[in-house]
C-alpha cells in the first residue's frame, strides 16, 4: 500500500471521529438533570456561587460553543472534573485504565492460544472429535451471556473448588508498589513470584469470561480459512513434491490461513472493550468498565462522557488498524 492510499484512509477517519464526538456530546448534553445541581448535591451555596460554577463549567454558553470547547479540551486530554471524585476526569480514568488494558490483553492471549490450535485441528481433521468440540465452543461462545458464564465460573472455581479468588485484582498480602501499573509485569519486576501467581489467579476467571466470545469467533474464522487454504493448488503441489504433511501445514498453509484470523482478532479486540463493563462488574475488577457503570448511577456525567468517547475512539482506531493490517498481510487486497 502506497503512502498516498494510507493518508487517504487516515483522512477518512476524521469525519467518523468527529461524528462520534458529536454523538457523545449530544448524548450527555441531552441527559436530564442539571450538572450544576448534581455537583452541588446537598451543599448550601449562594445563587452567585452557583452562577460562577455554571460559568466555570461553560454551561452558560450556547450549545455549539460548548461542543467546540468539549472537542478542543478533549484533544488536549482535558475532560473536566469528575463530580464524584472532585478530581480531573483524565486522572481518574488514567488510574483505572491499566487494569482494563491488562484484562483485555490476557483475554486476547487466551482467545488466540485456544482458538488457533483448535481451529486448525478442526480443519485438518474435519468431522473428527476436535471439529465437534470446535462447533460446540463456537455456538456456546455466541450464545452464553457473559455475566452468567462469569457467575458459573465463580460458583465452580471460587466457591465449590475454592481454588481461585472471588473478586479483585490482587490479594492484600501481595500488594506491591506499582511501576507500570500492569500487575502481572510489576510483580515480576519487583521480584515477587508469589505476588505474580496471586495476580494471575485473580485475572484467570475474568479473562476467560471476557475471551470466550472472541475464542468462538476466531476459531470459526481459522477453521474456515484453513479449510479454504488446504484446497489451494500450491498446497496440493507442495504435497505432490513430497514435502511432509507437517511441513506443508505449518510452513505453507498456516501462514496464509492466519491472515483473516489476525484481522478479525484486531477488530474483535474492540469488542472486548464492550464486554469489559459486564465482566468487571461480575468479578469486582477495578477497571474502567466498572467505573463507567458506577458513574452512571452516580450521575457522574463528565466521566461517562469521557469514557464513552475513549472507548469509541479506540474502537474506530482498532478497526482502522485491522483494515491496514489485512492489506499489508494480504497483497491481493487493495484498499
Amino acid at each position: 500500500m502506497g503512502l498516498g492510499k494510507f493518508l487517504e484512509r487516515v483522512l477518512q477517519l476524521v469525519p467518523v471521529l468527529l461524528g462520534v464526538s458529536v454523538i457523545v456530546f449530544i448524548m450527555i448534553a441531552l441527559t436530564p438533570g442539571d450538572p450544576v445541581q448534581i455537583m452541588i448535591g446537598d451543599q448550601a451555596i449562594t445563587p452567585e456561587q452557583e452562577a460562577a460554577l455554571r460559568r466555570d463549567l461553560g454551561l452558560d454558553r450556547p450549545m455549539y460553543e460548548r461542543f467546540f470547547l468539549f472537542v478542543g479540551n478533549a484533544v488536549q486530554g482535558d475532560f473536566g472534573q469528575s463530580f464524584y471524585h472532585r478530581r480531573p476526569v483524565s486522572e481518574v480514568i488514567a488510574e483505572r485504565l491499566p487494569a482494563t488494558i491488562e484484562l483485555s490483553l490476557v483475554a486476547l492471549l487466551i482467545a488466540l492460544f485456544t482458538s488457533i490450535p483448535l481451529g486448525v485441528l478442526a480443519a485438518i481433521r474435519k468431522n473428527s472429535i476436535f471439529d465437534r468440540i470446535a462447533t460446540v465452543i463456537s455456538l456456546l461462545g455466541v450464545s452464553l451471556p457473559g455475566f452468567w458464564f462469569g457467575i458459573l465460573l465463580l460458583m465452580l472455581f471460587a466457591v465449590h473448588l475454592n481454588i481461585l479468588p472471588v473478586a479483585g485484582r490482587i490479594g492484600y498480602s501481595s500488594e506491591i508498589e506499582p511501576i507500570t501499573h500492569f500487575l502481572l509485569i510489576d510483580t515480576l519486576l519487583r521480584g515477587r513470584p508469589d505476588a505474580f501467581l496471586d495476580a494471575l489467579s485473580h485475572i484467570i476467571l475474568p479473562a476467560v469470561t471476557l475471551g470466550l466470545p472472541m475464542t468462538a469467533i476466531l476459531m470459526r474464522v481459522t477453521r474456515s480459512s484453513m479449510l479454504e487454504v488446504l484446497q489451494q493448488d500450491y498446497v496440493t503441489f507442495a504435497e505432490a513434491k513430497g514435502l511432509s504433511r507437517r511441513r506443508v501445514l505449518f510452513r505453507h498453509a498456516l501462514k496464509n490461513a492466519l491472515i483473516p484470523t489476525v484481522s478479525v482478532a484486531a477488530i474483535e479486540t474492540g469488542s472486548l472493550l464492550g464486554g469489559n463493563m459486564i465482566v468487571e462488574t461480575v468479578f469486582g475488577w477495578p477497571g474502567l468498565g466498572r467505573l463507567v457503570v458506577e458513574s452512571i448511577f452516580l450521575r457522574n456525567y463528565p466521566l461517562v462522557q469521557a469514557a464513552v468517547l475513549l472507548y469509541a475512539v479506540t474502537y474506530v482506531l482498532l478497526n482502522f488498524f485491522a483494515d491496514i493490517l489485512y492489506t499489508v498481510l494480504n497483497p491481493k487486497v487493495k484498499l
Partner: protein, 296 residues
Amino acid sequence: MTNVADMSRPPETIFQQNLGNFMRNRLAVASSAVVILFILLAIFAPLIAPHDPNATDLFRRLQPPAWVEGGEWSYLLGCDQLGRDILSRIIYGARISIFIGAAVILVATTIGIIAGLSAGYLRGWVDVVISRIVDILLGFPYLIFAIGLMAMMGPGLINIILALAYKEWVIPCRVVRGETLATRELEYIEAARALGASRRHIMVKEILPNILSPVIVVSTIRMAHVIILEASLSFLGLGVQPPTASWGSMVSDGRAFILESWWVSTFPGLAILLLVLAINVAGQGLRDAFDPRFHE
C-alpha cells in the same frame, strides 16, 4: 429424464425447495420448536405460571429447588431472596426478552430496509449521508452505545427498545444496501426502468421481494444478540426496572447469594442460554437453507 408422472405435478417454487432443505435439518427444526415453545410460554404466561411472579413470601426466602432438601414440588425451581417463585418469574421474564428482542428487530429491520434500499438504489448524496451515519454508528462498541443512551434516557421498556434499535438498524441496512447495489444492475430492473416504472415501484415491488431472504436470515440471528444485550443491560440495572421479572436482573439478584443459593442465578441464566442457542441454531439452519451462497 423427467417422467410423465413428475410433469403432472406443479414444479416446486424456490421457496418450497428452501423450506424442504430447512425441514431436513433436524437440529434446526428442533431448535425452532424450542423457540416456539418460549414464545407460547411468553404469550400464555398468566395461564402457565404456577404463582404470581411478584408475590413475595418471606417464609420461602431462598427456598431451594424441589429436588434439593428443603424444596417443595409446587415451587419447582425454588424461590429468590424475597421468596418469589423462580419458575413463574422465568416464564414472565420470557415476555420481556422476546418482546424486546422482536420489537428491536422489527424497528431496526424496517429502518434498515428503507435506508439500505434508498442508499443502494438512489446512490448519490443519499448514499453518502446514510453510509457516513452507518460508519459513525459502527464506531461505537454496541453495549457502550446502549449504556450511554440508557444513562441519557433513563430506564424503561420503550427506552431499551430505542437504545438498542438506534444502532441495530445499521446491520440490516448494510445487508440491504449491498444486495440492492448488486440487484439494481440486473436486466429485469433495467427493463422496469425502460417501461417507465417509478423509483418507488422499482425499489418496493421489484428489488425488495428479491433481497428479503438474506435480510430475514440476518434479522433472526441478530435477535439472539439483542436478547443477550437486553439481558446485559438489565443485569447492570439499566434495563427493565423491578419488580418486573427480567432474566438479566434475576441473574444479577442472585449474585449476592451464590455462596449458599446457586439456583437464584443459575435458572434464569439457563433460560437465556437455551433461548439464544435455539435462535442461533435455527437462524443458521435458515441461512443454510435460504441463502444461495451457503448451498453446497
